[in-house]
Each structure stands twice: as structure tokens, then as C-alpha cells.
């Protein structure tokens, strides 16, 4: 059966969505005649050449509407020539060519929905149109499902499939702990994310550090990732006297990332929801990755994080705006080693079993099959 995956995010670029879609593509390739249509990237041929499916790329000029139109036109051309049975729409921005294909050739499509792109105030029209036209919508968390349903997509057409980790958690690979830029043997809190969005809550974890260190004086906070907020976060740390206890590791290689996951005592990302429709965490693959390394995690009770962190089972959920709550959770995990071990072990089990990519692709495959077989009239607009 012929399938077309249409996406703006795809490797070799790194990122949660990129990884998810490549896992789906790799997983589906043995059973389908799959073609992937996406943007050109530097050195993409190295990646593409090792794929068991065809990857077609369109040029990028840096003007979003132009780039999108080119990708859309190329998609239509591909659809006319190859007539896939089903299209996977990797991003709501690619809704128009998918809808057009459905209208012209009666080719159904499945749409992916993640988080911010379906919640952003300026995206409601585009996202609503793309998702309502889909035979089925696959999303990453209950939180995202609610956002999709708020766009008038019927309940039974939306399925949550929780993604698994990007990092693979192998112990053999990667740097050794000794190579990490960390003096001494302090207790380590770790965050992994780009430093480009304030809602990620690094500021609140930093602000909790003086309280945490009042009880665990050797606690330190490692921030992996980089972005324009870094100087701001550095200043916050200095302003409250904990600059020495915060290490900005910057962008790191995959092997260094693995080493940090192994080195940390607690993984934390106290993401918050901006009060009114702004950014928020759609899910939080990093929590699953930390779990995969057997680490207990702390997440802000916001957005899709409750899908990634099972409170009391794989980690703890906190009020991301409450330094007392953050402090309490961190201290519980730093001082109660049996609790930390129990949460870490359950997290690892869940990451390896329930959230394995094998499971993900199998469920995805089920939705493809039912979408192709169910014949139904055109969905409402």
C-alpha cells in the first residue's frame, strides 16, 4: 500500500517531532510503500541514503510562505503521479495540500497534532481546517487532545499515542561520567531543553536552589541546552547568590547528553502554562528519556506533562509557580533514596515497555488500517 508522509520536521535536524516522525517512517517502511516529502537540510543525503524508503526534499529559501507553497506544490505533483492510498500530514501547516488531495482524488489523510501549533491564538483557523478534514488525528497527550477537540474535531476521531524517548539509554555508548564538566561529587539536578521559551521554568528551579541548598548544600543544577534566555538565567542565578551552583552545559552531543542523564540524581523541568493561550509543554519526551536511564523526574503540573510524568509512580508533579512545592519535591527525592529508586525503576520499566517505539508504530499502523478501510463521507468543514 502506498503512503505519503508530508512533514516540515524531519531528521537530520534534531528534535522531538523529527525523531517521532522518523521512528514512524522507519517502523512503517517494511509494510508499506512509503515516500517522505520534506524540506531540504544541510547534509541530508547522508541521512536519506540509509533509509529503506524514498525521501524527497524541496528547497528552502527562508521565507515561510514560499517554502510551504513549494512543499505543497511538490506534494500535489507527487500525489498525482503516485496516488497514495493515504497521506500522513505531519504538521497542520500542511493541511491545505492534504485537503486538496482529499477533495480532488478522495485520498484520506491522518493528521498529527502536537501542542503549541494547535493552541497558538494565531493558528486556530489553519489548524482547525487541517484537523477537521483529517480522517483521524493522532496526538501526543491528553492535553493536546483537549486542544484538538477545542477546534471542533469530534472526540472519536482523536487518538492519543504517547511517544517514547529519543535518546536510547544504552549504557555502553557515550562519554563516561568522569568527562563531564562537573567538579566534585555534588547532587545533580538536570534539565534538558532549548533556552528559548520562558515557560520551561528554569527560572523557578534556579529560584528554589537557595532553599534546596539550605538542606542539601552540595546540590547543583545542570542546564543542558542553549538559547537566547541563557544570559537572563545566568543573571537570575547570580542575583540570588547561586551562580556557582548552576552549570550551563550548552548544546551537547548525544553521548554527553546520555552521560548527563546517567550522572544526574533528579531530572526536573518545571514547565508552566502561560495563563492565556501562550506556550506550554505538549508532552515532554525528556522525562521519558530520564526515566529510561532509571532516574526519577519532577515535572510542572501543566500542559501535557501529566501524560509524561505519572505522579507518584515515575516521578513527582509540582506547581511550577510555587518555589516551596518545587523545593519540597526536589528535597524528597534527594533525601529519600528508596523513593527515588522506586520512581526511577518504574519510569524505566514504563519507558521500555509501554512507551516503546514498537508499541507506538503498532498503534499508528492500526489507525492507518482503519482509516483506509472505513469509508465515510467527507468530514465537516
Amino acid at each position: 500500500m502506498r503512503l505519503l508522509l508530508l512533514t516540515i520536521d524531519f531528521p537530520p535536524a534534531r528534535g522531538g517531532v523529527q525523531h517521532l516522525l522518523s521512528r514512524v517512517a522507519d517502523g512503517l517502511a517494511p509494510d508499506y510503500e512509503l515516500r517522505v516529502l520534506t524540506y531540504h537540510q544541510p547534509r541530508d543525503w547522508e541521512w536519506d541514503r540509509a533509509r529503506p524508503y524514498r525521501v524527497i526534499r524541496t528547497p528552502v529559501f527562508g521565507i515561510r510562505s514560499l517554502d510551504l507553497s513549494l512543499l505543497g506544490l511538490r506534494a500535489l505533483a507527487d500525489i498525482i503521479r503516485h496516488r497514495p492510498k493515504l497521506i500522513i500530514c505531519g504538521h497542520v501547516l500542511l493541511g491545505p495540500p492534504c485537503r486538496l488531495a482529499r477533495w480532488l482524488f478522495r485520498i484520506p489523510y491522518i493528521a498529527m497534532a502536537y501542542a503549541y501549533e494547535v493552541r497558538a491564538p494565531g493558528m486556530r483557523r489553519v489548524a482547525g481546517m487541517a484537523l477537521r478534514g483529517a480522517r483521524h488525528v493522532i496526538t501526543i497527550s491528553e492535553f493536546s487532545r483537549q486542544a484538538v477537540m477545542a477546534l471542533d474535531v469530534p472526540d472519536k476521531q482523536v487518538t492519543v499515542i504517547r511517544p517514547g524517548p529519543v535518546a536510547n539509554g544504552s549504557v555502553e555508548r557515550g562519554m563516561s561520567r568522569a568527562d563531564l564538566p562537573l567538579n566534585g561529587r555534588g547532587r545533580v539536578l538536570l534539565s534538558v531543553s532549548r533556552l528559548a521559551e520562558r515557560y520551561k521554568g528554569h527560572d523557578m528551579v534556579i529560584r528554589a536552589l537557595p532553599l534546596i541548598r539550605a538542606k542539601v548544600p552540595d546540590a547543583c543544577y545542570i542546564i543542558v541546552g542553549d538559547g537566547w534566555l541563557r544570559p537572563y538565567l545566568e543573571r537570575i542565578a547570580a542575583s540570588i547568590g547561586v551562580r556557582d551552583a548552576v552549570i550551563f552545559a550548552g548544546e551537547v552531543s548525544e553521548s554527553e547528553l546520555e552521560a548527563w542523564y546517567r550522572r544526574c540524581d533528579v531530572f526536573i523541568l518545571a514547565s508552566r502554562e502561560s495563563a492565556v493561550g501562550g506556550g506550554s509543554e505538549g508532552y515532554g519526551i525528556v522525562f521519558i528519556e530520564a526515566n529510561l536511564h532509571g532516574k526519577p523526574v519532577i515535572g510542572g503540573r501543566s500542559g501535557g506533562i501529566p501524560d509524561a510524568v505519572l505522579d507518584g509512580a515515575t516521578g513527582l508533579l509540582v506547581n511550577p509557580l510555587d518555589a516551596a512545592d518545587i523545593t519540597d519535591a526536589v528535597l524528597r527525592l534527594l533525601t529519600d533514596s528508596s523513593l527515588a529508586a522506586r520512581l526511577g525503576a518504574e519510569g524505566r520499566r514504563r519507558a521500555q515497555e509501554e512507551l516503546s517505539w514498537g508499541n507506538y508504530v503498532a498503534r499508528f499502523d492500526g489507525i492507518i488500517k482503519s482509516s483506509v478501510t472505513t469509508s465515510r463521507g467527507p468530514a465537516g468543514t
Binding site: P121, R207, P210, L211, Y232, R235, I240, V276, G278, A324
Partner: protein, 625 residues
């Protein structure tokens, strides 16, 4: 609420009673003392929350930690719950008690969990250790001095001066700064050896050793990132509402100081939105000089249907001014203190707590000078020096009179930003200052002693842009040392507690973390607040440009204050101090009297200083005015 005093290194109840006796106005409802081994603490209480239960000092469970506290902890209910969950046993129903239990849990780091305004002392009996903490923005005051291994502290300087043996010596090094700024930026005061604990700092005294360190500072974000203005404004509005809501916490009646400007109107609007019908108070002037805010305030009061009260300051000010100087405690020659005192007095007849919009200008970029000075920096970068010099020269030919022209000339200047900031905000220009000061005076730092401080602050923030630097300077000087000192002292003078919701640290952290262009753009000030309050405030209030609070000084000096001014500045004891050249003082007075030139700001600064010196240096401040 309240005033605190204490001495570490001495056990003497009589001493702290005497200290507390100077600040009865801060807390007429009660007093409390603790004298332990090597420490004496005292407090005067103004009861706002848990009226019968929270008499200070307050202890922890096993009486190893004791506190005296001035302020208000707005999140005390959450903290009580939090501490009780951890097994602490709280005996009162008030906010003070959370301080000792937080100290038990986290030591002095417990301050990080407080939301509010505060200055408190904690005595750790077992470690014989004193910790003084002042709130993040400097809303509540705390002064201290060290003498002979003792640490003496108090909410006001007069308490410290009540101790025999503490020298009352004017710090002439601070004088030059005072003449420029009309106040003395911390940690210095006008008295040698007496310091303010800076905002966001704590002081630890143990074994006769004192260490002061910062625990918080305002942090601004750098760079013009995609400013999601509407989202930011909506979020800001939600945060403001929650903040104003928690600032209502009180067991006594509350009111709002309404100027008719956008900040205080916002406080009124948010109170109305959460279902309160606020009592509002406005002050105006009998004269026509300056802008009368009464009309603007009336508009807002009508719009929100508040219980509105007005007062007009009249001819009785001469009699009140020496008293106001005494209550002000530090020399802060801000003429707005006078109307603030009267409005608080009016309010005190019906309420015990007053909310004010203070801090909005500093937080949200309400001063047009931010943009203008930034514009000047841009001009300086792109224009050749000779062009600016010529333009300045041409301006000089026109006339040297008038504030507008002098500001234009400041903009075109080649001086570093800190000097131009000081020229802009300064009370008197440098030539006048050097003529005025006798050669034996001054701090020997050339033009003015404030420049190094401003330079250091700008370097500390270390940003390319001029605007965040200028805002930071205001946060560290003008806001705590003038605005908030005035608000605290004038409200406390009549035993009323002032609260400043716009300076809640959550609000400050949120706004400071937004890109500056959300706040100021194209000479438009307070964009964020205007956007947030769109549709809530009357259109006219929203569109009103920034109006400085105009006090009719010239009219006062020509009328009700004429005699007092002359008598004060030409009295023989003023002349004999030898600080100022009497000929120059006489010249200023003459210019003012003949209306040749407006010298009112400079004269007010001298006038205030002389009145202050008489009450704080010539003699120990009287026990109670």
C-alpha cells in the same frame, strides 16, 4: 505595619524601650520586648492581621528562635499550611509566625518564599546569631549602625539616635549627592556610620562580626525577542488581578490612594473587578500652578463608582512642615511628601490600610526620559562630535533658561550616560552646586558624587541598551531611597499602612523578564499596562501621557511658606554651619522672591536639609513629636 528596633551585643530592656519610644506612630496599638543573653529586641505594633493574637515578639515551638517584624506577608496563609504540613505547630493566626518556622526549615534562605513587604530581625538563641532581612524592593525600611561590637538597628534612624553614645554627625560626603538627587542613595545615609540595609539584602551578625549579602535583585531580560505583546498583556492583567487580590488581606478597612494616573487607576480597576467597592482618596492643590489631579481622579472614581474622598492642601502647610521633616526621618526633599502626608492623614480617619500605584513608573517604563536618553545615545553614536557641539552652542546662545532647553542640551551632550542621567534628574546644576558649597565641603569627587554610583550600577547590569540600565538605576536608587521612603514614612506618620501591589516581586520578575520593547516603544510609555488595561480603564485615563506629580512649590514659596523659608535659610544657625556660602543662598532667595528665575527645587532641597539638621543633628530627635 509596625516598627522594630534592637541591639545585638547588649541585654538592656530600658535601651530598646527608649528606641521604640521614638517610633510610637509606626505602631500605636501595642509594644513588645525581648531581652536575652546578648540581645535586646523591641517592636511597636500596628495591628492589621490577627488583631488579638499576633503580639510580638513571636517565638518558634521550643523558644530557640524569636522575631520582631515590620511588614506584611501576603502569602502567609499558604505558608502556614505548608509549614503545618511539615509538622510545625503554629500558635497564632497571623503572618509574623511563619518567619520563625521558615528560619527553622531553611535558615535565612526562607526569605525566598515570602511574598510581601518586610523588614525583620531573627535572633537564633542557640547560635547567638542575629539575621536582619529587608524585602526585595525596599518597601519597608531598615537602618543599622555598629559601635563597639554592638549592632544597633531600627525601622527609623531616630530610634538609633535615641541610644546614648551614637554619634549624630552629618556625612558631608553624602551632601553632594543629596544636592543633586534630593535624597541619599543607600547604603549611605546623611549620618556618618548609619546605613540602610539595601533592598534584597540580609545582614548576619554573629560574635561581633557583621556580614551583608544580597539575596535577590531585579533581573532584566536582554534582546528584542519576538514580543508577543497581546499574550504578555493578557497574562500581565491576570497576574495584576491576583496580586491586587492578595494585597487586600486585612482584618481592618482598606482604601486606595487615587491620583487619576494609570497606575493607581489600575489598582482601583482590579479591586472593582474582584467585586470590591473601593474607598478612594485624592489630594489636590488650591492653586492653579501645575496640574491638578483632582479632575482626573474624579473621572476614575465616577467610572468605578468608588466611595471617593478629596482633600485640598491649603495654607496650613507651614505649620506642618517641620513635623513632616521629622516623620520623614531621612532628608528626602521630595515636595510630594507634603500632599502625601495630608492625604494619608485624611485617609487615616476611615481606613488603616492604603493601596497605592507606587512603583508603576519604574517597573513599566513610565518616565519619558528613558526613551529620550536612549535617543540621545543613538544620536551620539551616529553624529560627529563637532555637529553636536555646534548644536549645543547654538542652544546656549538662545538662552540658558528653562528646563526644556537644558534637557535638549543634555541630550546633545557628549558626557557619558550616567552624567546625562544625573543632569536630567538632578535638582541643581553642577556650577550652582560648586558655587553653593564652601570649599571645605563637598566630597572631593569633582562634579558630583552620584556619578560613580550610577556608573557602577550600569556596569553591574552590563547591557548594551541604555534603557534597561537606566531602569535598573532607578530600581536601586530613586525607588527605594525616595519613592518608597516617602510612602512608608508619610503613611506611618499617621499610623496607616501603605501597600504597593505593583511592586509585588512576582509582578516585578514577570515584567522585568519581558523584552523592553513591550514596555517602551517609539516614545510611548507603559505600553504593556495600557494594553493590559484596555477596555477596563476609561479611554481618557489610558491615553493620558505621563504627568509628574506637580507640587506648586513656587506658589508655596510666594505665599504660605515664604516666611518659613526665609527664616529657616537665613537664620544665624544655618549661616554658621559653614556648609553653604550665605551669599549664594541669599542670591537664590532673592531670585525666587523677585520671580527672576525659578529656584524652587534648589531652595526646597536646602530648606529641607536645614530643617532636618536642626531635628536630627543639632539635638537628638525628640521622643515623640
Amino acid at each position: 505595619m509596625c516598627g522594630i528596633v534592637g541591639v545585638a551585643g547588649v541585654s538592656d530592656e530600658k535601651l530598646v524601650r527608649r528606641m521604640a519610644g521614638t517610633i510610637i506612630h509606626r505602631g500605636p496599638d501595642g509594644e513588645g520586648y525581648f531581652v536575652g543573653d546578648g540581645v535586646s529586641l523591641g517592636v511597636r505594633r500596628l495591628a492589621i492581621i490577627d488583631l488579638p493574637g499576633s503580639n510580638q515578639p513571636i517565638w518558634n515551638e521550643n523558644r530557640t528562635i524569636v522575631t520582631v517584624f515590620n511588614g506584611e506577608i501576603y502569602n502567609y496563609k499558604e505558608l502556614r499550611h505548608f509549614l503545618e504540613k511539615k509538622g510545625h505547630v503554629l500558635r497564632t493566626a497571623g503572618d509574623t509566625e511563619v518567619l520563625v518556622h521558615l528560619y527553622e526549615e531553611y535558615g535565612e534562605a526562607g526569605v525566598h518564599l515570602l511574598r510581601g513587604m518586610f523588614a525583620y530581625a531573627i535572633w537564633d538563641v542557640q547560635r547567638r546569631r542575629l539575621v536582619l532581612t529587608r524585602d526585595r524592593l525596599g518597601i519597608k525600611p531598615l537602618y543599622y549602625t555598629e559601635s563597639g561590637g554592638r549592632l544597633i538597628f531600627g525601622s527609623e534612624i531616630k530610634s538609633i539616635l535615641a541610644i546614648p553614645g551614637v554619634p549624630r554627625e552629618a556625612d558631608h560626603g553624602a551632601l553632594g549627592v543629596y544636592l543633586t538627587l534630593q535624597y541619599v542613595p543607600g547604603p549611605r545615609t546623611m549620618l556618618r556610620g548609619i546605613y540602610k540595609l539595601p533592598p534584597g539584602h540580609l545582614l548576619v551578625w554573629q560574635d561581633g562580626q557583621t556580614a551583608v549579602r544580597q539575596y535577590w535583585d531585579v533581573v532584566m531580560v536582554e534582546g528584542d525577542r519576538k514580543a508577543t505583546e497581546e499574550t504578555a498583556a493578557e497574562e500581565f492583567q491576570a497576574l495584576l488581578q491576583e496580586t491586587v487580590d492578595i494585597h487586600r488581606i486585612s482584618d481592618v478597612p482598606i482604601g486606595v490612594l487615587l491620583s487619576g494616573g494609570i497606575d493607581s487607576s489600575t489598582v482601583v480597576a482590579e479591586l472593582t473587578q474582584i467585586g470590591e467597592r473601593p474607598t478612594t482618596f485624592t489630594v489636590g492643590f488650591q492653586t492653579g500652578e501645575g496640574i491638578n489631579e483632582i479632575e482626573e481622579a474624579r473621572l476614575v472614581a465616577r467610572h468605578f463608582d468608588t466611595d471617593h474622598h478629596e482633600i485640598v492642601t491649603g495654607p496650613s502647610i507651614a505649620e506642618a512642615i517641620p513635623r513632616i521633616v521629622w516623620y520623614m526621618d531621612e532628608p528626602v526633599a521630595d515636595p510630594a511628601a507634603v500632599p502625601t502626608y495630608f492625604i494619608c492623614q485624611l485617609a487615616s480617619e476611615s481606613v488603616k490600610v492604603l493601596l497605592s500605584g507606587e512603583g508603576g513608573d519604574e517597573l513599566l517604563g513610565g518616565y519619558p526620559r528613558y526613551r529620550w536618553l536612549d535617543f540621545g545615545e543613538g544620536l551620539r553614536r551616529i553624529s560627529p562630535g563637532w555637529l553636536l557641539a555646534t548644536a549645543r552652542g547654538a542652544l546656549g546662545l538662545l538662552t540658558s533658561e528653562g528646563r526644556l532647553l537644558s534637557r535638549l542640551s543634555t541630550l546633545l551632550g557628549s558626557a557619558p550616560l550616567e552624567d546625562r542621567h544625573l543632569e536630567w534628574v538632578g535638582n541643581m546644576d553642577e556650577p550652582l552646586k560648586s558655587r553653593l558649597l564652601t570649599t571645605t565641603q563637598g566630597d572631593g569627587q569633582g562634579s558630583n558624587g552620584a556619578a560613580p554610583l550610577v556608573r557602577e550600577l550600569m556596569a553591574r547590569i552590563g547591557m548594551e541598551d541604555a534603557i534597561p540600565g537606566l531602569m535598573y538605576v532607578d530600581f536601586k536608587t530613586w525607588l527605594p531611597d525616595n519613592i518608597l521612603t516617602k510612602t512608608d514614612r508619610m503613611s506611618m506618620a499617621v499610623s496607616v499602612e501603605a501597600r504597593v501591589p505593583l511592586l509585588d516581586h512576582r509582578v516585578v520578575e514577570f515584567v522585568a523578564g519581558l523584552p523592553q520593547q513591550v514596555k517602551i516603544r517609539n516614545f510611548g510609555t507603559k505600553r504593556l499596562l495600557r494594553q493590559a488595561m484596555k477596555g477596563i480603564l476609561p479611554a481618557r485615563t489610558l491615553q493620558r501621557p505621563k504627568q509628574a506629580f506637580q507640587v506648586p512649590l513656587r506658589t508655596w514659596f510666594a505665599g504660605p511658606l515664604r516666611e518659613l523659608l526665609w527664616d529657616t535659610l537665613t537664620a544665624s544657625r544655618a549661616m554658621q554651619r559653614g556648609i553653604f556660602r550665605s551669599s549664594v543662598v541669599a542670591e537664590l532667595l532673592a531670585e525666587q522672591a523677585k520671580g527672576r528665575r525659578d529656584r524652587s527645587r534648589a531652595l526646597w532641597t536646602l530648606f529641607w536639609l536645614e530643617l532636618w539638621t536642626r531635628q536630627f543633628v543639632d539635638a537628638a530627635p525628640a521622643a515623640h513629636h
